[in-house]
Amino acid sequence: MATQLKDQPAAASEREAVTVRFAGDSGDGMQLTGGQFTLSTALAGSDLATFPDFPAEIRAPQGTLFGVSAFQINFGSDAIETAGDAPDILVAMNPAALKSNLDALKPGGLIIADTGEFGARNLKKANYDENPLENDSLKDYQLVAFDISALTLESVKEFGLGNKEALRSKNMWTLGLVLWMFDRDRQPILDWLHSKFVKAPELAAANAAALNAGHAYGETAEIQQGLGRYHVGAAEVEPGLYRTVTGGESLSLGLVAGASLVNLPLFFGSYPITPASPLLHTLARLKEFGVTTFQAEDEIAAICAAIGASYAGQLGVTSSSGPGIALKGEAMGLAIITELPLIIVNSQRGGPSTGLPTKTEQSDLYQALYGRNGDAPMPVLATRSPVDCFEVAIEACRIATQYMTPVMILTDGYIANAAEPWHVPDIEDFQPAPVTHYEGEPVSPYKRDEKLARVWIKPGTPGLMHRIGGIEKNFETGNIDYAPANHQKMTDTRQQKVMNVADSIPDQAFEIGGPDDDMVVVGWGSTFGPIHQAVKAARRGGAKVAHVHIRHLWPMPKNLGPLLKGFDKILVPEMNTGQLKTVLRDQFLVDAKPLNKVSGQPFKIAEIKAAITEMLP
């Protein structure tokens, strides 16, 4: 992993892992550059993790600090689970990109900067009084600065593009250079350029020329001190078919697969919101899989339409982020009391309120578990990584339909946008659990099976007409009933039904370590990578520390309590002010200690490792 990189670049050298951060103006195409470099890295066989970090503005004015868009990738020959604590290499396409990303760069790290963008105007926009490339301020880093803009213009001259358009290829030029540094094959990128610009071949050609020119620059030009070549080996991986996948894609595919496994058409009701919208966008293109997508007028309509679709016999899904999930609370109660299957996906972002829409956070766990009126229990699952989204979505479809209950999936903006290599599973390996809507003799709509799930009768079925609704219902008949004993019974039943889900989930396993360790670090969601790496590192240092990562946040695996009670020292790192900590302490009366970070940025491995060391000196 990146933190082990001790020796600083001199010449072409073998590295276990490297972290590169591409940073530029929103208009500079950094996300695309990062995406293509990710693909190239995957093709080269390294394991990898990425962290796209872009501004809230659509297109902030050019050159501004808040308009900086960055993409970080960590790749290596060992398993990679985070996007890297601190980059080894920072590509800074303008002064603002340098300014806002320099802090993250590892001491002694390499800066590649485009001098063509370090003019007075851009410097001023980035609040630089002097040109940092020309004074001493970067002396603790290695700086390689040259006029990428000019070199790009030169390289695409022959295509007769306007200046503005020609400069758009800067990112490809830069990518070419970085590809050279890591000795990568250019062909896949060239192929991609041609398929992308199939309708504008001159743009394809210009971008290809820029890419090649950047590569050639590394190969042939008089290289300044410090710009060396690196070799990062291939990672050990299972054989099979791989692809890169973002959390958004993976979750979409998982929902489609999950609906297919329970043999139901998928109804997706949603209202756009960052960072949840990618799900809507992806699913809107999958109509041939029996998917209906409905962009509702607001979040309340979105969940209500999904409830209506479930009532009518489909699998209703709704998706949003924190503020939108807040609006859905009342309707979740309706799904709970009418005992209809429903999946609610929360792609968490920084809060409270509008907060930090494009930054990541895990601060909606309280809301997921507790954020409804009345005693309103609901299963809650968390995704830990882009790849993990696929399985979690399938699991949610299973629970929702087998237990006739809404299920919440917690993911976050980091997972939704980050990409990682995915060993594509064989869909046949997943157990189908097809739903049959009840069509037999007349029964009470609240007739339950042994799991306590009620029958699912869909409108259109002759002879089984019935009425459901949000008022308390009689346990036997399903008619309105306010009687005290009945309410107690129904409350207990709803509670027990959700607890019964625990009968169908695997025991909580250790990710690393085991019951004999002295300490356990417990996480959920996208902190998986940094926790895992930190625990590994601590163990290498001799610490007896284990890692447990919870997918089933409610109900929790039955062995989790006993498992945790075996430890005196429990550390719970969360990107919130300590929400899982509350649940663990409440449920198991264990002295779980919070480690909280609420900055809109993922944990660094070092931060968690430091906390482990502190608890386990």
């Binding site: 195409g29 693909l39 093709l43 080269a44 066989g45 758009r168 490809m172 896949p188 192929d191 991609w192 398929s195 992308k196 743009l203 971008n207 291939a234 990672a235 050990e236 991986v237 299972e238 078919l241 692809r243 996948v245 958004g248 489609v256 697969a257 058409p265 109804f267 966008h281 999958l286 109509k287 041939e288 899989f289 209906t292 409905f294 509702a296 007028e297 309509a301 979105a302 209500c304 339409a305 409830i307 209506g308 679709a309 009532y311 009518a312 489909q314 109660g333 309706l334 594509v424 869909i427 046949e428 869909k458 409108p459 259109g460 007409m465 009425r467 459901i468 609704g469 949000g470 309105i480």
Partner: protein, 360 residues
């Protein structure tokens, strides 16, 4: 249930005790609906009543069909999901002036705009019945209620004007007690493909008794109600009065009709497809003008769920539905043997379908 036996009104009643106040106008509407169902030969299993919260929204419990008593204001949204999931179902939305126009106004707007094929029955009693009598958005200015002890100051919403502004394409009005006309109007609403909006003046005997009496009471009914029929002259007061279009002022005005010769009096023939006339009709205010009742406007357009369904089918055409292939799409590569990934990979065609960044 034998599909062959025609169902009677009573077959549409459930075994549940009806829980409205004695004398509530809701009873009459329930009766009218059950009769209409029987007369239309509706199939109970294909019929779904979706309601929000309010006295009126208890309606589904009393209809021997499928029913969903949802949450306050959200019936149009739930109904949209029901209908999109199964367009074969006959979906009726039951709502009140509070449910449908206060908390639920936005969903109503979008349901009408989208033109989902369903029937919306708005029970307008100009009051919040279930919560014990607070004024509602349709209450007349000056309404004294527990929340407005000194009288409400705000101007009311006019449900049918709102529905027209929302691009609703079927607008009708009826009165709870108008049992003669009600089945006809409900059948028209049902027959209309797209969203049908029916405002029902409903008497809340407890909190707003007789608020409509100025035009519904027997003695004044004939003079203050005009029942519209497409293609028929706009006559009322037992044919002794009619409405003429004042083409300069762009408004309808009352004229006397002598001996039934409405042509002579230049009485307008109702054309329910004319939106400008519809605007005038819904804006007529009693007592200056009669209250417009019946089908005020009907101008069909394609319905939302049909267009959605068509698009879904079109979009799927020619595509292979192979889940395995789907997850293998995108930028893939093969690792041939354990431990080391293979560098030589291939790029799938649909590389960056989902890339979102606008500029390269």
């Amino acid at each position: 249930m034998n599909d062959m036996t025609p169902l009677k009104a009573a077959d549409f009643a459930t075994d549940q005790e009806v829980r409205w106040c004695p004398g509530c106008g809701d009873y009459a509407i329930l009766k009218g609906m059950q009769r209409t169902m029987a007369e239309m030969g509706a199939r109970p299993e294909n019929t779904v009543f979706v309601s929000g919260i309010g006295c009126s929204s208890r309606f589904p419990y009393y209809m021997e069909t499928y029913g969903f008593h949802t949450i306050h204001g959200r019936a149009p949204a739930v109904a949209t999901g029901v209908k999109l999931a199964n367009p074969e179902l006959d979906v009726w939305i039951i709502t009140g002036d509070g449910d449908g126009l206060s908390i639920g106004g936005n969903h109503m707007l979008h349901l009408l705009r989208r033109n989902l094929d369903c029937q919306v029955l708005l029970f307008n009693n100009e009051i919040y019945g279930l919560t014990k009598g607070q004024y509602s958005p349709t209450s007349r200015t000056g309404t004294r209620s527990p929340s407005t002890p000194y009288g409400s100051v705000d101007a009311p919403a006019e449900p049918c004007a709102f529905a027209l502004g929302a691009n609703g394409r079927f607008i009708a009005r009826c009165i709870d007690t108008a049992q003669k006309q009600m089945p006809g109007i409900l059948k028209r609403a049902h027959a209309h493909k797209g969203a049908s909006f029916v405002e029902l003046y409903q008497n809340c005997i407890v909190y707003n008794d007789d608020v409509f009496a100025d035009f519904t009471a027997k003695p004044v009914a004939a003079d203050s109600q005009i029942w519209l029929e497409h293609g028929e002259p706009m006559l009322f007061s037992n044919g002794t009065k009619g409405l003429r279009l004042n083409r300069d002022d762009l408004r309808l005005e009352i004229v006397d009709v002598v001996d039934g010769d409405w042509q002579a009096a230049d009485v307008l023939v109702h054309d329910e497809t004319r939106k400008q006339i519809a605007h005038m009709l819904v804006e007529m205010r009693h007592p200056d003008m009669p209250v417009a009742l019946g089908v005020i406007y009907c101008d069909p357009a394609p319905s939302f769920e049909q267009d959605m369904r068509t698009q879904n089918i079109e979009a799927a055409k020619g595509k292979v539905v192979d889940l395995g292939a789907l997850i293998r799409k995108g930028q893939t590569w093969e690792v041939n043997q354990k431990k080391m990934r293979e560098g030589n990979a291939h790029l799938a065609a649909a590389a960056d379908e989902n890339k979102r960044e606008p500029s390269l």
